[in-house]
Amino acid sequence: MKGKRFGGLVSMLSSIVFAGAFMISSGFAAAPAQAAGPGPEVCKNCHAVAFESYSASKHSTKTDPRSPANAGACSTCHGDGTAHVKAGGGKGVGGMVKLSTKSVAADAINKTCLNCHQADPRRMHWQASVHAGRDVACTSCHQVHTSHDNVRDKLTQPQVCFTCHKEQRVQVNKPSRHPILEGKVSCSDCHNVHGNNPKQMERGSVVETCYQCHMEKRGPFVHNHQPVTEDCTICHQPHGTTIANLLKSRPPFLCQDCHASGGHPVQAAGLPTGRTTGTSLLGTVGRGCLNCHTNIHGSNSTQNSATAGRFRR
């Protein structure tokens, strides 16, 4: 079995190496030269609003040798405007590039930005990201000519993400949720949307990402609950649910997706008529199964009890 499984990977690796060799030998384009241009003082005569935001932005800081202000200003991103000015302006006249996905391919837009911003380690793997592979452009989410880029503000960032992620727009309004609407947790706290980690997580895995705030779940515990060590999203939907503690489903149903032990673990769901200590009556209400299995993420108990491994202490 193992040989077959890893054989598949070896085959894929061979394909990648072959593809890589093919790619390396067949690059077709040259790096675009930075264009000269008439300069922002000329551009502002017609593009006053854009000029104003540019002038107030980091892009215009002349003391930074890396900034567009020292590399052609407007023409760094929009191309040489000489012909455009000479022709008296006009949409697209003179080969000007408006970085809009309605007229320019996403990877061309991204290439413009990455000329400078690839150096950021968070964007080092952009080309392999899901977003890049789906033709998302930098300008799909970022507004360059503004004093307030919504996606870079944790209070307004989720609204940008909801433009495509409709399900999450609903989930963050459910009763059990992270403080996303309040701007205390933002999408980019958990996701590096410029990277290529699984699920575009901020760190190398789901659990490592969650541990950034929920480190008490990391353990290792004496008694580890296996799914906890593997992936928090087996039981939790972090964007929001109708069940307490972001659970995907309600006990006992959630627990019974894995546990079928005889006795009370396979109890039917029901609502007790009154106070009870019956374990077969307590799996649905209150904290459900967690009424007793209270340390469900892991326990360090050495109590001499046959049930010590069942997260009750």
Partner: protein, 700 residues
């Protein structure tokens, strides 16, 4: 459901319009401004106010600032951003940087979380590590009301320095203390307990980045620590009987070294790699469990988790119409904690062991996109994930385990882009997961279940998106998603059988004229799950559990259906006056359909369940949220506005989680029978109105 198949759309005028609708509840000021004001909530907001620092009715100060200044001569920026200074969830950040050279920031942020329930209890010692549960029980409702909740105080410091020749140094440090209390259980019985929370998280990351021409490298250190002031809670009845010792998470720390890089072989071909190694350790003493501790149990765990990550990738556009992404990823999570006996029998033979789990994932991915005429493109991809999983070799198994899992995922997508009027995509994903044979616990029922995270699974997902702008002023966005999971296994019939998720969404925006804009959206989402298991009729304690019940095949159909909509308008009445209004509505219905097929003649349900012995309802639960928002902003002078906000919020639920159902009618949940008596009351409805006014001053 995985979101990896999510396709995305471009932010259009439509998106920008929606953003303005669903922005912050309370308006924030523009950049380079200070705003000060006061607001008042008319009623408590037990549920909706759990995070925003405005849970209780009454007046709140509204104070925000956002100031950013640049000295053009030196390229030096100075920034100050403050939010919610008048509220409990306040935050403030100061930033200084000489662009491209050196800079730093210091930020403080508080996140408070209040439990939405009212706890009335006689439990003594709440907030401490010694709890006493009343015996005999207090009469429910006669205890003291306590509020539970936590507060996180986070301080983050960042610094960077450009070292020249393409080198940059970055360091960030975060210190976060978490204090408070959380609803818990006493473990040995369904009695109320409270977890005292007093812990500190620290994260330190230092990276040295190199970027020159074609090469980018990033090397660094990432270290974390978790320190818990408490390691255990001692609980007993007030009589001193029934001592239980509840363990708490223990201190742990991690160290990670990493090296990431990318190299542009050609302008269209890029190679990348990642390498990291981390070690987590947990070696705090396991605590004194009194006379109940296993005398032969180790004094500490010597816990150690080692994680190795290696990844290489290649992206390229070997020809103008073809782009390719290839990636290989290897991640080894090795729990190297020694396995030792924790609990022993009378003969000093261990019966319970600690349970380390290790995983190794090897993932290969290949994806290609081909550009078709008229700005269409076709994407195809395959991903293969081979996972090795540790099966416990000592102690008792409670669920089946598998030593390996394999999952292959295929993706296909057709996209249309670069159009002024119609863009969109249609995507399909199919994946199949299976694995090795199961290692079984050896129990009739336990052997027959396929745990959901390792069961064989087939997944099919569709997603269609359409972005349509029939005219400049009018835009629509349509989304349809459908996902189907089917589970099976080699062991038995029990566990999750299948699940579905569907979503339909439409967004629209209309620019009436240069001054007025309208936006609206509607989403319907529905998820379902079907589970099968067998209810065991032979309860361990029929008397306590209100009678023995029939053996039964149990089938449960779970579903959640949501309907959400929003409608908003923004307008400029005059040169000085801006107004806007929004309506948002979220409604979800959860259904719990349970059916039993009896396998013997005993009763269908325990007599102590609400309903009848033949029909026990678990009623549907409906959650509703309705929010109206209005604002008006008037320019009292060139650089100053007065803004008035009005919010009306209505939330309701019939969630029965914290209720009991005697014949006389539902009552709040009460813990214990002869002991405890703590009640937990959920507030089923809240209607509250906020009125706020603030003065906004803009620096010119």
């Amino acid at each position: 459901m995985s979101k990896r198949m999510k396709q995305t759309f471009k932010v259009t005028a439509l998106a920008a319009a929606l953003l303005s609708v669903y922005g912050p509840v309370l308006a924030e000021g523009p950049e380079n401004s200070v705003s000060i004001g006061i607001g008042n909530w008319s009623n408590d907001r037990a549920q909706r106010g759990i995070y925003d620092g405005m849970r209780d009715s009454g007046a709140y100060g509204l104070l925000d600032a956002d100031i950013l200044k640049r000295d053009d001569a030196t390229g030096t920026w100075l920034g100050l951003k403050a939010r919610n200074l008048g509220l409990d969830n306040r935050e403030i950040k100061g930033e200084w940087l000489r662009q491209g050279d050196i800079g730093g920031s210091l930020e403080y942020s508080r996140i408070s979380r209040d439990q939405p329930f009212i706890y009335n209890t006689g439990v003594q010692g709440i907030g401490t590590t010694t709890l006493r549960v009343p015996t005999p029980s207090i009469t429910p409702g006669t205890g003291a009301n306590v509020e539970l909740g936590t507060t996180r105080d986070r301080v983050t410091a960042k610094f960077f320095k450009n070292l020249g020749v393409g080198l940059n140094f970055n360091v960030s440090f975060r210190n976060e203390t978490k204090d408070g209390t959380r609803g818990w259980g006493r473990g040995g019985a369904a009695e109320f307990a409270v977890e005292p929370i007093d812990s500190t998280i620290r994260l330190l990351e230092a990276t040295l980045n190199y970027s020159r021409d074609r090469l980018q490298l990033s090397a660094g250190y990432y270290g974390t620590s978790y320190d818990n002031a408490n390691s255990m809670v001692t609980t007993s009845l007030t009589s001193g009987a029934s001592p239980y010792f509840l363990s708490l998470p223990l201190d742990n720390k991690s160290h990670e070294l990493f090296l990431n890089g990318g190299y542009n072989f050609t302008p269209t071909t890029r190679g990348t790699f990642k390498a990291s190694y981390s070690r987590v350790t947990q070696d705090e003493g396991l605590g004194n469990f009194g006379g109940t501790a296993s005398p032969l149990a180790p004094p500490n765990l010597d816990g150690r988790l080692d994680t190795t990550l290696l990844e290489i990738g290649l992206t390229s556009r070997p020809m103008p119409k073809l782009s390719i992404v290839a990636n290989l990823r290897y991640r080894d999570f090795a729990d190297k904690t020694p396995v030792r006996g924790i609990v022993f029998n009378a003969a000093n033979t261990p019966t319970v062991y600690n349970t380390p789990f290790s995983y190794t994932n090897a993932v290969g991915k290949l994806e290609a996109t081909y550009r078709l005429p008229q700005a269409y493109s076709l994407l195809g991809g395959i991903e293969y994930n081979a996972q090795d999983r540790q099966v416990p070799g000592m102690g008792t198994l409670y669920v089946p385990f598998r030593a390996s899992l394999d999952e292959t995922t295929y993706r296909l997508q057709l996209r249309k882009s670069m159009s002024e009027t119609v863009n969109g995509s249609l995507a399909y994903l199919h994946s199949k997961r299976d694995g090795s044979s199961y290692t079984l616990p050896g129990d009739t029922l336990e052997d027959a279940i396929n745990p959901l995270n390792i069961a064989d699974r087939k997944r099919d997902k569709w997603r269609a998106m359409l972005d349509w702008s029939p005219m400049d002023k009018l835009g629509f966005q349509f989304t349809i998603e459908d996902a189907q999971d089917k589970y099976s296994g080699m062991v038995g019939p029990y566990g999750l059988q299948d699940g579905t998720a569907r979503l339909y969404a439409v967004d629209a925006s209309y620019q009436v004229n240069s001054a007025w804009q309208i936006h609206a959206w509607y989403t319907r989402d529905k998820t379902t799950a079907r589970e099968i298991t067998q209810r065991d009729g032979a309860n361990a304690n029929p008397a306590r559990d209100s009678g023995a019940v029939a053996e039964a095949d149990k089938r449960t159909d779970l579903s959640e259906t949501g309907d959400s909509l929003g409608l908003g308008v923004r307008g400029r009445v005059s040169g000085r006056l801006k107004v806007g209004g929004d309506v948002e509505s979220f409604r979800s219905v959860n259904e719990y359909q349970q059916s039993l097929t009896l396998l013997d003649g005993r009763p269908r349900y325990q007599s102590n369940f609400a309903g009848t012995l033949t029909v026990v309802p678990t009623p549907n639960i409906t959650n509703k949220l309705l929010r109206f928002k209005l604002f008006a902003e008037y320019a009292v002078q060139k650089n100053a506005d007065v803004r008035v906000n009005l919010i009306h919020e209505r939330w309701s639920t019939d969630d029965w989680s914290w209720m009991m159902f005697p014949a006389s009618g539902p009552t709040p949940w009460a813990y214990g029978t002869t002991t405890d008596g703590t009640t937990v009351t959920a507030v089923p409805k809240q209607n509250s109105t906020f009125v706020g006014i603030r003065y906004i001053y803009r620096f010119q």
